[in-house]
Amino acid sequence: MIQHFPVLAVMLLFLGAFCVEIFGSKNEGIRNTITMLAATIALVLIYALIKPVMIDGEIISYWMGNWAPVSGYAIGIGYEIDALSLFFALLVVTTFWLSGVYSLSYMANDHHLGHYYTLYLMLSGSVLGLVMTGDVFNMFVMVEIMTFASVALTAFRNENEGTLEAGFKYLVIGSMGSSFTLTGIALIYGQCHTLNMAQISAQLSCGGLTPTTVMALALIVAGFGVKSYIVPFHTPAADAYMVAPTSISMIFSGMVNKAGVYGMIRVLYIIFRVMDQSNVQMLIVLFGAVTMFIGVTMALTQHEFKRLLAFHSISQIGYVITAIGLGSALGLTSGLFHAMNHTLFKGLLFLTAGAVLYATGTTNLDKLGGLSKRMPKTTICFLIGAFSISGLPPFNGFVSKWLVYQATYTKAVESGNFVYAIVTVVALVVSVMTLASFIKVTQAVFFGQLPAELKKTKEVPAAMLVPMYIMSALCVLCGIFYPIVNKYLLYPATNAALNVTNYIDKMMGDGYAAGLGVSNIEVAPAAFSFWNPIVWLILFVVIFIAAFIVITGSKSSRGQLLQPGVKYDPKYATFFSGEEELFSQVGGSDLFWGFKTDWKGYYRVLEGLHSGIVTDYAVFTVIATAIITLCMFIFMR
């Protein structure tokens, strides 16, 4: 019975997509009922798998049309749900269900909603199928449906500024990525004559790496790099997240780029199993480190709420990629945990951005301000999200970022490689910059002066607040009850990624892997020291109070008189005193102007690169793919 659940969940979503288009394009009630029914049943079906897969440690396999393997050859299309798949499937169903609930009121004033819900269900179904399939070509098809639906949804509000452009860029870069993936899959098929992941994994590990498989690996990694938007493939993401309807931005950052991360893990750890090679580790970690740094520095200069969140999304994916690139159990655990937390807090932040857009009609940081008085509930949700992403204890972001630091530093100590220590420092600095840019957003949107034209702003309807509450609660709970999350979600998923034998045997029959000489990679079960976020919170409070007493007690900290006769521009004064300065509004772009001035050269280069011209972005994609391919050919053994 239970083995039918995954495929039913995927089929229901696609069936729902058709039914919405046929029956619900005119009638709002039927449309919403079908959409929420499909989404809710899919949610329940996937949650029902937690007990057998996560707790009892089963692996669920399903052959479409019962085409089971004959004589050790997989013929049919198989679905295989191990703990890693289920981990991502849980993220996917949670995200799209909450996004669906939010859409009901957020999108209510738009036209052509039948198409919106059709595409929404297609996107949900394709990502769910992508994380649960056991067949590489099926994976490619799901990737294509995902890209297709994403593009259409990006350009959905096509009367708005920039939507068509963003959709087109997404389409060009996305389908280049898909083509790379397909070429890689074709090469694997040429080598192994099978499309089943389990069988490919078994055959590749006994045959060793040939030039064909190295090429295939490089192309598939590049393809999934495009889907997870690591730098320099990230350019369409910033545009798409910004202009898509917010409920869709949440889906993009919560599950579409997680699908790319899942693909990377599946390919690197399970299909090719190359993560024990130090050069591959270094390549992935460097891509991750560059991604997190460029993402956060670009975010600091943005004037647009959702575009800023988009760059943060890219930056946080950098953490995930860095962590999974370490190749250790600790690294993988921290990467998965951060992926999960990113889904939660970034979804929450996008929802609050959507609430601001819904209530005020703009997301321009320079035009907003003082909304905390008008939208107190949204403000609290936003603060929880901002604290989580900045890594303050006891929120979830703190735990997973701490694990990432610990994983990279442990790696540096173990391998004696200095680069990993630098990566740890970069991760710390990026976290500080994340906090800085969220201070900017908080100040520019929720605190400060309320502009006159926003005086009549009202809190958003309850149907939009409920998803935000759920997300906020999850952010706090995952931070505090971290050991439970680790025990029931992260540890099984990490184990599933590192122990391939069970995965192969379940699909191809017992003893298949052993017959081909596949053995499990030695894995120490995610052994990390235990800590308690509450203790850290108390420690931080104590340090803060001590620092406060020391600083306010000393003379040098008191205010200094302005020099007479010198005209200060109050905009650029750090602390204000006096009448004129007291009422001057600090816009979102005014904070950190000093930092931006200091880094002028860096920003000039970076903004030049983000030129907005689609062919430039295509050039980045091709160059990065060429680099990945070259590195793999030179350094892989």
Partner: protein, 119 residues
Amino acid sequence: MIIVNYIASIVLIVLGLYTVCTKKNLIKVVLGLGIVDYGVNLLIVSLGFNDGGTAPIYQMSDLLNGVAPHFFVDPVPQALTLTSIVIGACVDAMALSLVIMIYRKYKSINADDVRRLHG
């Protein structure tokens, strides 16, 4: 398994990527994506080809007994190519419709003019 096909497919993929990277006209960019697709399709369909092979109608026992294991053309790549062609056609149609709408809005299909989102 014909070497000419492999070379041709690589040439097509590279030409397509070159078109996407260098041409500023958005329609040419879409054409470039199409050419990459055709190159990949040619690669896949060539992978399963056997010179002089027959239709893939056989029994498992024939294969296992070693009665000419390569006497037929592999059907799987053809199915993959068919799927890939359909997907490629959809992507092209969607890209072109986006270009039409971009032209209506921006009055230009030069990539240098379609850059309101940048930085």
